[in-house]
Amino acid sequence: MEQSQNDTGQNYQGQNNSGQNLGVAALITAIITFVLAVIPCVGLIAIIPGIIAIILASVGLSQAARINAPRGVLVAGLIIAIIASMISLSQVFVAIKIAQKADKWPEGIQNVINDVQDNVVKEIQDANVSIKVESDGNKVEINTNSDKKDREQKLEDLEGVKTQKIDTLPKKNDTLPKKK
């Protein structure tokens, strides 16, 4: 009978030590997590040791509750671990939001480029254009502030034929002329 009581006492002592060890482990992990969580570079991964600390503290608390052991260290570890995990989670949240915004930036830049391009084309089309044609001592000067279509019309009137676009680069389907 005495032997059995001694065994039970040793068992409780062992469980008490185990709970205390878990508490120390949880507190150390929680403090390290807290320090990591407030550093933006590594704060995103601090959630992992944070969860480990919470698990350690929870297991330790359940053991301590079973044998009515002191729980100060365990509660401290649990509170610090929860706060650290929340800080880490907030960092993850902020990083995700920034990453989402970063994906939208190229679109914004493209829109600005398109706007600038449109403005430049419009400016060129509406600009005052002066064309001087000189042939055999005859000079023809066209001054116009009208738009592109009017300028093309005037050129056609002067030439008497319809203007054609002359592309310097051959089209995809065009074949180069064979050398004779």
Binding site: G23, I39, P40, C41, Q91, A95, K97, A99, A102
Partner: protein, 153 residues
């Protein structure tokens, strides 16, 4: 023989006190961690730029964060190149001072804990409050950046 017995007795006492006093164990553990941080700063060179830890925030968002360059800054502080350390990270010095102060505090508080057993509770309380204040002072720019980030998003 007597010296050996005395040594083994003191070692056993230390082991027992470590087992029974979690505060001492935690202090020794953190002192070890801080020494590892200092060793990390000493081993990896800012000139070779061979740091194994990379900024996850920058990898994810493409933008540098407040703590970018902290490893470089620590390495330069360990090597005595203080002005260069400020260029890498303006908050590097205060964070390094936090770790240095904690290393000293862990040793001092452990000695006080062993020397004055009657004032242990007060000692732990002073340690918690003091370390908390130093932590807030050292890491405040980072904490503020987190809050600013949450508010701006």
């Amino acid at each position: 023989m007597t010296l050996y017995l005395r040594k083994s007795k003191s070692l056993n006492q230390l082991k027992t006190s470590l087992r029974n006093e979690p505060y001492l164990f935690i202090n020794i553990f953190f002192a070890g961690v801080i020494l590892l941080i200092i060793a990390y700063s000493g081993i990896f060179s800012p000139d070779k730029d061979n740091y194994p830890v990379v900024c996850i925030h920058q990898k994810l968002t493409g933008q540098p964060c407040f703590s970018c360059g902290l490893s470089h800054s620590f390495s330069l502080i360990v090597r005595g190149r203080i002005s260069e350390a400020y260029q890498w990270n303006i908050y590097g010095m205060r964070v390094f001072l936090f770790f240095a102060s904690q290393l000293i505090l862990r040793i001092v508080f452990s000695l006080f804990y062993l020397k004055y057993p009657d004032t242990r509770k007060q000692l732990i309380l002073v340690d918690c409050i003091g370390s908390g204040i130093i932590f807030l002072f050292a890491f405040w720019p980072f904490i503020a950046s987190i809050f600013t980030g949450i508010l701006n998003v």
